[in-house]
Structures are given as structure tokens and as C-alpha cells.
């Protein structure tokens, strides 16, 4: 564990052994004889063509008031540069494909060694890849692999540019979860992003952009 300067957890934090025993005893008694019901099958959506999935994804992303640019593989760097616009500094995870950054004008800051929170807060934009994306819900799923970096990267800067390859796009949530289940089993965190941060807490008026990145730009790259 990379605890570093962090305080070491106490070896005996709080003894809850007695609570544990009592709760387990009560739960055992409570469910004694309870039968496990037969599980119905997972209902699935009618499959769509690749073209429909792409169209649906685009529709959903725009519905969240996020931006989307669709380009062939050769156009990735140009689209990223355009998405970054006048951004002066952009942070990238250490394993980000170099090809996505060619020809951009922004200063590229690599997160390695790890930047402090304050340093991240001074950078306007972040560029990441993703693990899988869902068309039905317009969701980007990050499993924080080498091209996505640790969770703080895609959280603190105000603009998140996320590159999605067409082969990473699936139609449904269960399909997406099947693709990242192995990452979860390895202990990796997941971040699901569906549009920019938003609140509807005041009179249910939707306000785009609260604490997370206020702008999200998806670059959808062809095979």
C-alpha cells in the first residue's frame, strides 16, 4: 500500500467483534428457512445495428448538453485539439496514446509523478480514454486503466475531453458491465459519467455543472 505520508491506520481501530457476533446471530435467526427465489432471466433490449447504436449514443450525449465530435481514426488528434480549443494546459494520464496529442497547442502535463490536488485544480482540462461506453444511456465508463489515469484526473479540471473508440461502444448497461467486470474483480475502481455534473436541487431547475467538470466533450473515433 502506498500510504506514504498518510497516517497509519490504528492496528485495533474499534472493537466491534461483539456487535458482529450479535448481528450475525440475529440475521441467521431472521432468515432461517428463507427460500432463495428462482431468478428470472435478464430481459434484453432488441439488438440494434452498429449504425443505430452510434446514432443513439450521439443523441444521448447531446441530450445531456455535452459535446460530441465524430471522426475517423486518422482525425483523432485534430478533433482533440479542437475540443481543447483555447485551453492553455491539459493534464493527461501517463498511459495516454501519444497520437491523440499530435499538433495540439495546449501545454501537456503528465500525471506522473502524481500531481497534488492544488496542481490539478490549476489545470483547465483533462484528456482521457475510456473502457466502454453505453448508447442507451449515453454513459462513459472509466476503469482507470493506463489511458484514463487515477480518478482525480477526470474530476478536478473543468473540461473533460474523453476519447471513445467505436469498438468500445455497446448498446446496453448489462453489455457494458460484462466488459468491465474483470476490472472490478481485479480491484480497479469504476467511474460512470453520463453528461456533465448537474443539479436539480433548486425548484427542480436543472443547472449544468456543479462540482465535477462543467464541460464534457466526447470524441468518437472510427475503427
Amino acid at each position: 500500500m502506498t500510504t506514504g505520508t498518510l497516517p497509519t491506520p490504528s492496528s485495533t481501530p474499534v472493537s466491534t467483534a461483539q456487535a458482529r457476533l450479535e448481528m450475525l446471530t440475529l440475521i441467521n435467526r431472521a432468515v432461517a428457512g428463507a427460500e432463495r427465489p428462482p431468478l428470472p432471466p435478464y430481459p434484453v433490449s432488441a439488438p440494434q445495428s452498429q449504425a443505430e447504436v452510434l446514432h443513439q449514443f450521439e443523441d444521448r450525449i447531446l441530450d445531456y448538453k455535452a459535446a460530441l465530435t465524430r471522426v475517423p481514426a486518422s482525425g483523432a488528434a485534430q478533433a482533440v485539439a479542437a475540443a481543447l480549443g483555447a485551453v492553455r494546459r491539459v493534464v493527461v494520464p501517463s498511459g495516454l496514446p501519444a497520437a491523440w496529442l499530435e499538433g495540439g497547442s495546449a501545454e501537456v502535463v503528465r500525471d506522473g509523478p502524481a500531481l497534488t490536488h492544488a496542481e490539478l485544480d490549476s489545470i483547465e482540462a483533462v484528456l482521457t480514454g475510456c473502457a466502454v461506453a453505453v448508447s442507451e444511456t449515453g454513459t462513459l465508463i472509466l476503469d482507470h486503466g493506463p489511458d484514463q489515469g487515477r480518478r482525480a484526473l477526470s474530476l478536478i479540471p473543468d473540461l473533460h475531453v474523453c476519447v471513445v473508440r467505436e469498438d468500445q461502444l455497446v448498446q446496453t448497461v448489462p453489455q457494458a458491465l460484462a466488459r468491465v467486470a474483470a476490472s472490478v474483480r481485479e480491484g480497479r475502481p469504476l467511474t460512470w459519467i453520463s453528461g456533465g455534473s448537474a443539479t436539480s436541487d433548486i425548484e427542480l431547475v436543472r443547472v449544468e455543472g456543479v462540482h465535477g467538470p462543467r464541460r464534457l466533450h466526447v470524441v468518437l473515433v472510427g475503427d
Partner: protein, 467 residues
Amino acid sequence: MRANLRNVTGAIRAKRANVVGEMPHWEQLRDLGAALKDDTLADLPDRLLQLERSVQARGGQVHWARDAREARDLVALIAEQHAVTELIKVKSITSDEIELNLALEERGIHAVETDLAELIVQLSKDSPSHILVPAIHRNRAEIQELFNTELPGEGQLSDDPAALAGAARRYLRQKFLTTKMAVSGVNFAVAETGTVCVVESEGNGRMCVTLPEVLVSIMGIEKVLEKVEDLSVFMELLPRSSTAERMNPYNSFWTGVTPGDGPQEFHLILLDNGRTNVLADEFGRQTLRCIRCSACLNVCPVYERAGGHAYGSVYPGPIGAILTPQLLGMYDKNANTLPGASSLCGACYDVCPVKINIPQVLIYLRSEANVQKGLTAEALAMKGMKFVMAEGWRFEGALKLARVGQGPLVRGDAITSLPGLLGGWTQSRDLQPLPKEGFREWWKRRGQEPAAASGEADTSSESKERV
């Protein structure tokens, strides 16, 4: 207040119907959600032990809390070990249930709510009135005034929700970047892997579970799922039922401690606080399927008119009316009245993503509550009515008596005022009096007139007059 509430619940209702309508297999998905929850609850001891092992294997610590006090003490002790005097919090009803903030305050630890609505509630020293939109009872002018007084350095804000949200962003950002410890609730936890999930919209949840050094998550024992794949069912059911979105903006999943990423110390508190009581009741147990989406609040005609605070419970609305009395026990004098606060219209059951049969549980709990209350005047009246109803002839006789007895109450062609308990009826409604001839008399008379059986020779003039 009521106008705010009606606008909001009406708007969410319409949006929900839309996004649910997009899912042709919604009903099967509900069935699966309910079955998965029941399945896990039936095996809860094993699931919790599995969860504990998985979290520990990934460097997290697991604690068990029998009641609110034990859970509060655990959080406070962890804070004290780190010499923390201020911590940040993600909206968590479980933490409201255990009255965490107050307890921490008493020990010199200030808990800052970071969800916008919870912040509004906290700054105005109020309590939440809705599971999803806790400040639903506050309008923008009230929030404007509140922020102008309570948020330092903001000057005069307009009442534009975007400007108010912007002020909250500036106020909280420094807290997110510098606070050492955070407390969160848990939407789901996966036994197989030890993965914990928090679902949110604003990004404050991501901030809290990612940036501090120490993270404490409190979960009711019923939040556990078995497998990673089970998550997708609830990720489909919850957002559409809750915020009426296809997916809410952010979902965070983490497993114990991730080296080099996020808090390097993680505590998971497993809370009972009455849940084993609910679990022990074979019929009431389905209440523990609840995923706190609040769809039942948004369709409830009683919640819409009475408001969340009327329930006197952290869990308002239909789900609160069945969960609270079961958590607290049927002898609790406020809680045991909650199952009565429903017209049993059943709208809540239709929208529940995990098919909790709320109207049936309400009916069930009403009897459980009455057992605690003993032989009341109402119970005696019910016994008396049952005695009358036990024989057809007895009921017929009683109706004949009533026709005579109602005389003094009838004014014109209606009863406009009733004595005692029944006065609740005539407060805003008339009651029509008993008719001169009952069905039974008509039926007997008709049986004696052979002509009546085929044709309609004997159409009573009374009926005609009613046109």
C-alpha cells in the same frame, strides 16, 4: 410549500413515465430486481461475511454497528484518531437516520454537507423533506437569502439557480481539495468483490470518495448484492425511477483501497439499527428491497399534500410509512400511526422498481400496530360491526333500525353533520341517508311477484325520480 411540492413531483412523474416507457421490458426488469434482492436477503449472513472478507482483502476495514449510537461512535472515533475537526459528507439518508451530524458536532467535529440540497437544509438548520430532493420545500428566494447570509465572500447573489449553484461550488471546492476525511452512504455493495457504489448527480460524491485521505462509508446491511453483474440491473432500475434520467451523471465504484488512487484508508460500517427486526418478519421483509429511489413519494397523493415533514421520520412518503415503524418497532407512538396515513390507492406499488407491495405491507402493519394498542374504542366498534355482519338477518335488522335512527341527522336529503369520530367525514362532505327501501326488501317483494322476474313491470318509481 404545497405548490413547490406539487410542481416538483408532477414534473418528475411525467419524466419518469417517459424514460420508463423507453424500456419495453421494464416489468421483467422489476421482477428481476425484486428477485435479486430477495435472493440476497435470504442468504444475508453469507453475503455479509463474503463482503467483509472481500473488503479486507483489498485493504479496507469493516465494522459492525448494532444501532445508531455504535455507528456514530465508530465515525467519531475514526475522526478522532486522525485529529479531524471537520469532515465532508455525501448525501446519505442512513447518516440522517443515525443522526450523525449532531453527534459529531457534540464531539467537536463539524460535518459539512456537500450535496446542494443537503447544504441548503444544513445551513438553514432544517431537516430534509424528500429522499431525492431534500430541500424540495424551499424556493429560490429563500435559498438566495440563506446563501447571502451564510456563504462567506459571496456578496449579493441573484435568485438564479445557476448563480446559487455556482456559489455552492466556490464554497465547497476548497473543502473538497483540502479536507482529510469524508463520510458517505452506500447505494450498493458487491459481496463477491467488496465493491462499494455511490450514485449521484453533482460530482460532490466523486469529490468525497476520491480526494480525502480517509473515507468512511455507512451502509444498511440490506444494501449488499452478490455478484458484480447484479449491479447492472439496479443501474438500469434506479436512475429511471429516481431522477427520471436514463442514467444519473455520476456513479462511483471502488473496492477497498486502490494504491495510488483515492483514499488510502477505507472503513465500511455495516449498520443494523432495526433492520434485523424487519428481516425477521417474513412479510415485512420485502421492505428491505428498497433502493431509496423515491419514486413512491413522487406519485403519492398523500405525500404531495402533507409534505415530507408530516411523517416525522427521516424516511417520508409511502416507503417511510412502512419502513419507519418496522425499524423503530410498532410500539413507537409516532411510527405506529404512519401506516394509517394512506388511502391505499396503490400508485406507489406500480412505480416501485423492486416491486415492494407497499399497500399490502401497510395493511399488514395496521394490524400489527393495533395489536400493540390493545382494546381501543375503535377496536370495540369493529368487533360490534363484525357481530352484526356475522349473520345476514342481523345485518338486515340493523339496517332497518338505522333507517329509523338516522332521522334526526337528516337535513333535507343529506346528512351534513355527524358526531364524534365520524365528524371527520362531514367536515367537508355530506353523507347521503339510508334509502327508504333496501335491496333485500325489494328482492323479497320481487320474488313474490312472478311477473317481475322476466320483465321490468315493477320499476320502482323511486329510481325513476332520481333522474
